[in-house]
Point group: C2
Chain length 181, copies 2
C-alpha cells in the first residue's frame, strides 16, 4: 500500500517560523504568507502540513503543554526550591519554553479562548508547586512576581533589544528570601 515517506523537513521549519513571527511581530503580522516565507517553504507546502491556521496554533499549544509540563516537573524537583526556580526561570532567556510562552501569549491577547484555557492550566500547576514550597499564603505573591517578569518581557521582546532583566532576578530572589523567614 504505500511507500516509505521521506522526512517532512518543512513541518518543523514552519512551526518554528510561526513561533518566531508571533514573538517578533505579533499575531497580526504572523500571516500564513509571512510564515511560509520565513520558513523557506511555499504557501502550498505549509497548508499541506497544516490544513488551516488553527491547526498551526493547536500544534504550537501542544508543544507548549509538553515543555511546560517538563518545566513544572523540574520545578518540583529543584534543589533551590520551586519558588526560586520559578523566579529564575521567569526571566527571558530565549529557551524553547520561553519562546512557546511568549508566542502563545500573543494569541491569548487576541482573545483566543483555547490558548487562554491552556495558560490557566499551566499557571495553576505553577501555583501548586510554589504553594508546596513556600506555603499557600505566599504562593500568589511569588507567582505574580514571575508573571510580572513575563509581562515585561512581552512588552519589550521583539525588535527592541532586551536589557539587563537578569539583574532584576537577584532583587526578586532577595525579596523571596526575606519573605521566607
Amino acid at each position: 500500500m504505500g511507500c516509505m515517506p521521506r522526512k517532512p523537513v518543512a513541518r518543523d521549519a514552519v512551526l518554528d517560523a510561526f513561533e518566531t513571527l508571533l514573538i517578533d511581530v505579533g499575531e497580526r503580522a504572523a500571516t500564513l504568507d509571512a510564515v511560509a516565507k520565513k520558513a523557506g517553504v511555499s504557501k502550498g507546502g505549509l497548508l499541506y502540513h497544516f490544513p488551516n491556521k488553527e491547526a498551526l496554533i493547536e500544534v504550537l499549544l501542544d508543544r507548549l503543554d509538553g515543555l511546560a509540563k517538563e518545566d513544572a516537573d523540574a520545578m518540583a524537583a529543584a534543589a533551590e526550591g520551586a519558588a526560586a526556580y520559578f523566579i529564575r526561570s521567569s526571566v527571558w532567556a530565549d529557551t524553547p519554553l520561553d519562546r512557546a510562552i511568549v508566542a502563545a501569549t500573543r494569541l491569548a491577547e487576541v482573545a483566543h479562548q483555547e490558548t487562554r484555557r491552556r495558560f490557566a492550566a499551566i499557571q495553576q500547576r505553577w501555583l501548586d508547586e510554589i504553594a508546596a514550597d513556600v506555603g499557600p499564603g505566599l504562593a500568589k505573591a511569588v507567582l505574580y512576581m514571575g508573571d510580572g517578569l513575563y509581562f515585561n518581557a512581552m512588552l519589550s521582546v521583539g525588535p527592541a533589544p532586551q536589557g539587563g532583566a537578569a539583574a532584576d532576578v537577584e532583587e526578586l530572589l532577595a525579596a523571596l528570601e526575606r519573605l521566607r523567614r
Copy 2:
C-alpha cells in the same frame, strides 16, 4: 451668541467603543466597522472625527497618559504608601485607568511600538514612586507583583467573567508588610 455648533457626542462614544472592543475581543477584531457599530455611529461619522485608525490609537494613548499621571500622583500622596496603593490598584476593577491599560496592552501585543514606549514610561514612573516608598532594593519585587496581577487580568478579562482576584490582593499586601520590616 449666534450659532454654537452642537456637541460631538459621537466622538467619545467611538473612543469608548474602541476601548471596549480591544478589551473584549482583541485588536484583531476591533475593526473600524465593528467600532462604529458598537458606538452606534456610522462609519462615515467615525472617520469624521478620526481620519484613520492610528488617530484613534493616539487619542486612546493620550487618554491613558492622562489617567496614568493622575494615578501616579495619587499614588505618591497615598496615606497607606505608594506600594500598597499600587498593589491595591493593580487588581482589575474596571476603572477608566484599568480599561485604558488593558486596551493599550492589546495594541502593545501586536508590536505597536509607540504603545510600548508609553508603557515603558508609565512603568518607570510607577517604579520611581514605589522605590521612594519601600526603597530601591524591593521596588522591582513590588512592581512585578502588580504587573503580574495585570498580566492575569489580561488573560482572563473579556467574555470570561472575572473571579475573586480581590482576595489575592490581601495576600499580596500581607507579603508586602512582611517585606517591609
